[in-house]
Symmetry: C2
Subunit: 348 residues, 2 copies
């Protein structure tokens, strides 16, 4: 929409969001055109319709959605915007699909700094372009001061599945290997450190990243030998494996010593009484892979920048109890349960 | 996911949402399975993956998203759940597409009544089933007490366009007729009345409804003669026509006397100093239709329960200023501007 006819320029340096920016009138049109459309810039949004049309070819598509309420909004390694784009791309990608389009719904608290909103929108645009994905639909609502916590974003993603490819947790089989793409707990510990203002010699940075390209090399190496992929976000590796156990009716046997955790992350977790396998990741994946292809897939992961620290951490086993068991570094064993809640609220 | 293994049954009568319900663990899985999956019940959600796959045929699809922050959450004629489903279906439908799938992202304030959440989820399931649409992806986040206002929902919709059909505001042409599907302002006035606890002899009820079927009969009657459709939500008819004017580079000339407004809505608007053409609707549409097909489309609308009070309210005109002009009932004329903000915040 042309900016012509707006009363005055949006003050992106010192201005704040007010209720008029969510009200469907001139102020909202101005915010959308001068901030969001500029950040996301693509032909679909430029048409200014309430929906965007795109071409599809016969086959299978996937759809996924996620709300983001992370606190604080800015953290080492990203912000709520890049996180929302990465996270939703990853949920598309875990099915084996190629991510194509995103939508983004913004719920903004009155008084929110326009400069922060611009930084966040710019991060979203950059994250989307980096993954070859377009944000083709959006919505902006503003609620009164005190009725939200700065900014919430809900992103929805759609992608196209290659013919015959359709991963699902119930496809895991006994004897499959369990691969993780890198060190666990980075995102959760980065958020917590920022929240509690903990200073480290080496800053712990969120692993927030889009995994489309890593998954592409894994599929090239493992094909249909890759039975399940999932990104261990909220609840960490423990929740993810317990979910897969429930869906597949199998158990897991893990080797604690094989699970990659950065020294600084491990130390911080110990300090705060957390267990890295319960802590959220935003740029990691777990793959359940047929045993004869596991080494090839692992090698492909290690050759990719986002899989350098990938590891084979255990296997699926027949278990009516669907337990996730772990052989500890001290030679013992324990059941890895999923927590009722989470150690860290509003981690994503 | 099987409920087996959850500590105790979710207390849907007296229970409340707590932070654990958004934390990715056992409590969240329980909330999702016993409340959302039951309300939305379909084969996709039953698979419990982080994304859902569906078949598509070669052609064009559309995507749209909307956040819902309406206050109060329950109002005459619906609640935030039915509104979120109807509203997103309507945005799909306005392109001429058939709505297929929805996703829903819930951001819930700690302490929210589970019984209310169940009512809302049930309304969403019912609204979706009523339109032959499936909610195939969802997400639940919980924020601390005081960090949200009860419940926000963001819904995203996708639909399939019939071959060669792709409505867009820039397709309006000089001399097209402007049709509205019924009385204006019902939703906004219903919300406001509830908010201010205004009692009327006849309760004013939101018009919240899914317009897929009305649009189907319109397309059958008017085909490609329907150039633009849009639902006049936030900002009302005035904002919608001003948007179309900007996108098409045309002006509008309306007849005030022809615009349908219920007597009770008109009276309430007068009482509160509102103008019904600026007030939000949630079950109405505006169609810009080629003049030779306008009567046929209008007749088809009037024969449909959701278009009984449809009316031809004016025409598009050549106008470099892209003004929306209205001949008033008193014989004068005025420019219908869009407001900077909105008369009623958080109307949807």
């Amino acid at each position: 929409m042309s900016v012509q006819g707006y009363q005055r320029k949006l003050d992106l340096e010192n201005g704040r969001v007010d209720l008029s920016h969510g009200a469907g009138g001139r102020a909202m049109a101005q915010l959308i055109s001068s901030l969001f459309h500029r950040a996301f810039g693509n032909e679909w949004l430029a048409r200014c319709n309430d929906q965007s049309a795109f071409d599809v070819a016969t086959g299978k598509m996937v759809m996924t959605t996620d709300g983001y309420v992370v606190s604080p909004l800015f953290f080492p390694g990203g912000n709520i915007g890049s996180l929302a784009v990465h996270g939703t791309i990853n949920d598309v990608v875990m099915s084996g699909a190629r991510p194509l389009y995103l939508s983004a719904s913004f719920i903004i608290e009155e008084g929110f700094q326009l400069s922060d909103l611009k930084t966040i929108a710019d991060s979203m645009g950059e994250a989307a372009r980096g993954a070859g994905v377009y944000i083709i639909a959006g919505d902006t609502k503003v609620v009164e001061r005190g009725k939200a916590d700065g900014l919430f974003i809900s992103t929805t993603g759609i992608g196209a599945l290659a013919h015959g490819f359709d991963l699902s947790a119930d496809k895991a089989m006994v004897g499959d290997r369990v691969l993780v793409s890198g060190s666990l707990g980075d995102h959760g510990v980065a958020i917590m450190s920022k929240r509690h203002n903990v200073a480290f010699q080496t800053e712990i940075v969120s692993d927030s990243a889009a995994l489309h390209d890593l998954v592409a090399v894994m599929i090239a190496a493992g094909g249909a030998g890759i039975r399940v992929m999932r990104d261990p976000t909220r609840g960490g590796l423990a929740a993810t494996l317990n979910e897969i156990a429930h869906q597949s009716g199998l158990g897991f046997r893990l080797q604690e010593a094989a699970i990659p955790v950065k020294a600084a992350v491990a130390a911080t977790c110990e300090l705060f009484g957390l267990d890295p396998i319960h802590v959220a990741n935003e740029g990691k994946l777990v793959a359940i892979v047929a045993p004869h292809l596991a080494d090839a897939v692992l090698a492909a992961m290690k050759a990719h920048p986002l899989g350098r620290d990938a590891a084979d951490i255990g296997e699926t086993v027949a278990d009516d109890h669907k337990f996730v068991q772990m052989a500890t570094s001290f030679g013992g064993g324990r059941i890895v349960d999923w927590l009722s809640g989470e150690q860290l609220p509003r981690i994503c």
